[in-house]
Amino acid sequence: MDPQSCVNIKKEWDIVGARQLGREMAKQVGFGTVDQARVATAISELARNIYLYAEHGKICFEVIKGEKKQGLCMIALDNGPGISDISRAMQDGYTTSGGLGAGLPGVKRLMDDFDIESEIGKGTRIKAVKWIR
């Protein structure tokens, strides 16, 4: 991934910063208003998880090119406690903070591709891609 644009997440204000950068890049790639809003919402969810549960973390964005299509890739990285039961975290209604529609299943729905790796005590890495349709 190169060149990357990253936003460090330490305080709640950084969530807004990450959304702004992500939306800007989404606009450049050519996403419409609806998809821009979806990308921003996905960023909120990922950034909020870092802000709430990890000490340090960042979200990086990159414009990527598939075979025929372009997309926006975002990677959320943190050194937080890790997720002990990923299957459970991917179930609707698991998140205590969000209620209806939020949490990681929400991010998966808002984006096209979704991948998660997590190790207890070491941290979590989530990669999510949205493609231009």
């Binding site: 419409g32 809003a37 919402t41 609707d92 209604g93 209806l100 529609g101 808002l110 349709r133």
Partner: protein
């Protein structure tokens, strides 16, 4: 999905145009149908907002910058609504899996626990038992003895659904294994109490009443283990007598004993046994009074016992808006003329 939106963009725009000019109900009826279509095709609310923005632009209304910004803001507010809606599909599938498992179990419960209402000269029997949800937490079981004697057990398992069903199969096999000599209600409850106490976790318990009828003596013996009281209808005086018996619910103390009463039934006398799902029906936020139940029973008392219990059920089903809060079981025995 994209295609549906495109096909409907024109339709949306035309209806919107029509409505803006005439505020005509037909346009609103039209958009209602369109939005039903959209939902079926998983088009999310934020996409409707976007469609609306585009339609307004095409209609060349003089749109201010403020307007455009305000609509983007509204669109943003809808994203979470779209997410929530997507949960439906998932939830429906998960629920379907559970429901079909429970449907199999409920069917099995019927086969496993099946019991037949005996046909006995000189008495008229009626029984109805309807679960509030898929599986019935109420339970009744007929035991036929020799010489046209028979017993009936009516139970309410505290806790519903599947755990209750497991309990019932235990009770059934226990009752069926008792020899006929011990068919006295107080003995049966005493024995069952021991089985339940030994086998079931302390947080769970069962209320049960048991009645045993001797047609030759016209006597109904009756005991209750903490169950909802029964009612003895005296035809002569047209009055109901409450049958409240001493006896702990099953499963609490290993050596509980049970009071037993002998009721001599005369012509047209009835005994009514029921579960709290009947007496604790709710009408809106109000619990009904016992007196109301007895009135409704009286209203249908001219019918056969079976028709009577069925009509009483229908009455309370309707009163509760066709949404039972608890399993509903009602039994009646009437001495013939």
């Amino acid at each position: 999905m994209e295609k549906t939106i495109k096909n409907n963009t024109k339709r949306y725009q035309d209806l919107l145009d029509k409505y803006i000019h005439s505020q005509d109900e037909e346009a609103l009826y039209g958009i209602e149908k369109v939005s039903k279509d959209f939902i079926k095709k998983n088009i999310l609310p934020e996409e409707i907002i976007n469609l609306h923005i585009q339609a307004m632009e095409s209609l060349n209304k003089d749109l201010t910058e403020d307007y455009k910004h305000s609509m983007n803001f509204l669109l943003e507010a809808m994203i979470f609504y779209g997410l929530a809606l997507q949960e439906v599909t998932n939830l429906r599938q998960e629920k379907d899996v559970l429901t079909s498992e429970i449907a199999i179990a409920a069917n099995m419960q019927k086969t496993l626990l099946g019991t037949n209402k005996p046909e006995i000269d000189g008495v008229d029997l009626g029984i109805i038992s309807v679960p509030a949800h898929q599986m019935n937490g109420d339970y009744y079981h007929f035991v036929k003895g020799s010489d046209d004697t028979f017993g009936i057990a009516i139970a309410d398992i505290i806790g519903k659904g599947i755990p209750a069903a497991l309990c019932m199969s235990m009770i059934k096999y226990a009752i069926d294994s008792y020899p006929e000599e011990t068919m006295r209600p107080s003995t049966i409850l005493k024995n069952l109490n021991r089985v339940v106490e030994r086998n079931i976790d302390p947080s769970m318990f069962i209320t049960m009443c048991y009645a045993h009828y001797h047609p030759t003596e016209n006597i109904l013996r009756f005991s209750s283990a903490g169950h909802e009281p029964g009612y003895f209808y005296h035809a002569e005086t047209d009055t109901f007598e409450e049958l409240k018996m001493k006896g702990l619910v099953l499963g609490v103390m290993p050596d509980a004993t049970y009071e037993e009463i002998n009721l001599t039934m005369k012509e047209n006398d009835m005994v009514i046994l029921l579960t709290d799902g009947v007496t604790e029906c709710r009408d809106g936020d109000r619990f009904i009074e016992t007196e109301e139940v007895l009135q409704v029973i009286r209203k249908y008392a001219h019918l056969s016992a079976q028709e009577m219990v069925e009509n009483v059920y229908k009455h309370f089903e309707k009163l509760q808006g066709f949404q039972l809060r608890d399993d509903f079981t009602l039994f009646a025995i009437r001495k013939g003329v």
